[in-house]
Amino acid sequence: MNLLRNALVLTGLLSGSLIAATPTDQIAFRTAFLDGQLPWESVSTAARSEGAIDFYYWGGDDRLNVWLERTVAPDLEKLGVTLRPHRITATSDVVDLVLTEARAGKGLGQGSVDAIWVNGENFYTLAQQDLLFGSFAQKLPNAAWFDWDENSAGGSLNLYDFGYPTQGREMPWSGEQYVCAVNRSLMAEAETPHTFAELERWLEANPGTFTYVKPPHYLGNTFVQEALYEMSPEGAQGFQQPLDSFTPESLARLLAPGMAYLKRIAPLLAQARNGIPRYPENESALMQLFQNSQTAMECQFGLYHVATKRASGQMPDNTEEIIFPRHNMIKNKNYLVIPSNAPHPAAALVFTNYMSSVAAQKSKLAAVGYPLGLDLWMLSAADQAAMVEAMPPHFGVTQAALDSHIAPDTHASLVRVIESLWQSVVLQGSETPIATLVEQAMSQSK
């Protein structure tokens, strides 16, 4: 029966170039693919007949935009698929779009979003709302370059996104590490802080020379997470459990020291008037302060961001990276996800597979400066050497040093609570006991 059904699907797909695949065909396609019954050639053929892929991604990085249109699009044309890149300002908007379309009854083949560049909270939302195509990642040919071993230390980021199991529903695309850079003409080597405690001392001596992006922006959230890790007695490990494993009191105990710290340093931050800082809303505003020499230090996701920004003139030539904070530099991956109502599922699979290929990962590394999504140790020695060759340079630190101070993100379910607590305690200066605020936030998250 299986054989007959698959034969019918194959026939349907091969003749798909003459007739557009109906949603029923595509559902059959999905079932066959996820069962592992479909050879990759049929996926390629189906993709050719679908002809296009709608990729939604954050459009704020010009290098990425250029790479997608200059390098990726022609390569995909050769595979018979036209890339349609959609630049968006906030990934949550696309998640919203998928949700709205699903609610309006649009199923597989009828939506507008084929692939999204996501991680963390947005993936969590999609998963909770059951809006994912399925467990496709390990079935792609290029999955061989990724470590899917539960027990290996390196494999965890392929299997867990913000502590939440990916179950192969999203494919790792880039790695990232939260790195801080300093302006050496404003901060000498000797006075560089390497922990939050040292940062507080620096700020007391040099107020107004640092700030961080405002939560709930993910850059702000990550900084807050790192502060929480260092200030909490349990460190990063305490934040890996899901929300429902905490009581309001236990969670409050975990979060209170970090929040108190952030509240303490708030008046010392840049652009503070009457003790209230004006936090930059996004990376662009943060960079502006750094470029004007108003801040001496800035932190964002970007393992190679100093190299790329020095090359595009956005950072002065004396900018260097630093190790901050020791042992708590958050490292994660970001992924490509296929929603459940993708209009061109086969093309989406071909696209994701292409993005996971050695060649594409290398050209992305060199052209855009995004760290590898695949795992270096899974490649051949020659490929490994080529990758290392393609990596942009570091300034002031070594790759080995950066690798030895990493920490994971918090569990995805904690993010909303942390955001809300930061708003109340640090931004609005609420005097309400933290346990109460945590309780309110927890009930809103349910």
Binding site: D96, K214, Q271, R273, R278, Q288, N292, Q294
Partner: protein, 289 residues
Amino acid sequence: MSRQHWLSLSPVLLVMLLMTLGTLLFAVGQSLGYAPQYGINHFPTLRYYELLVAQPSVAMSLGLTLYYAVVATFLALVMGFLLAMALLRVGRHHQWLHYVYKFPLMVPYLVGIALVIVLFGQGGLMARLSYALGWIDRPDDFAALLYSHYGWGIILVYLWKQVPFMALSIYVVLLGIPEQTQDAARLLGASRWQRWRYVVVPQVMPGILSAVLICFAFNVGAFEAPFILGGGFPDTLPVLAWRLFTDPDYGQRLSGMAVLVTMGAMLLVTVWVASLLSRRANRWQRISA
């Protein structure tokens, strides 16, 4: 009223009624709790309005919004008036002057915002000039024109666009006053001030009032400038509405609608009251003159 009349009128009326009144009614309905697309139907309820009133920051947002709107409109009126007078004196002989001052009217507000950023930002050109002249030592010393709640950056953007608008409105209206009435008044012995008060101003008022109301309404409802150049929390009402509207919690979105409905109602009332007062003033002027 013939059928042909209605046939000619109905397409545009339909569009206006459906799209303006219709969608606004929809917005009002949403703010009162009717939002089936979000799976919410508590209609009718005032809870989304109550949520707003309960937060003191909303009152601050309202205050900020009105402050920027009133200050910008007032300054635009004064400066626009001065410009109009200057144009009246010399504009007729120099056509090129008209090209220059109308330029800001032709470009999007975002262009004005870009200009203000590059000039008046803390690392902007004015700050660097001040540094070069030795007036300040660090970028922070340059008055945070843009990103504070005093909002001078926002007001500057409004002025860049609205001073020409006011000037144009006033200039055109002043042009429209026939010389004869002023001459007649002069012949009858009226002083300059009296000519101004009883001849020029009544004729000029309605046009200027419209311009002022348009500017004020725009400033209250403006989004781009306070969003990009504003001082952060608490934001102006339109920015607040946008933040609420992009919140994943649907209840917050309905609160956002409530903010917008309140703003719209406020503005409509203001305009209606202003027009009533102006009509009364007009009638009084004509009677007394």
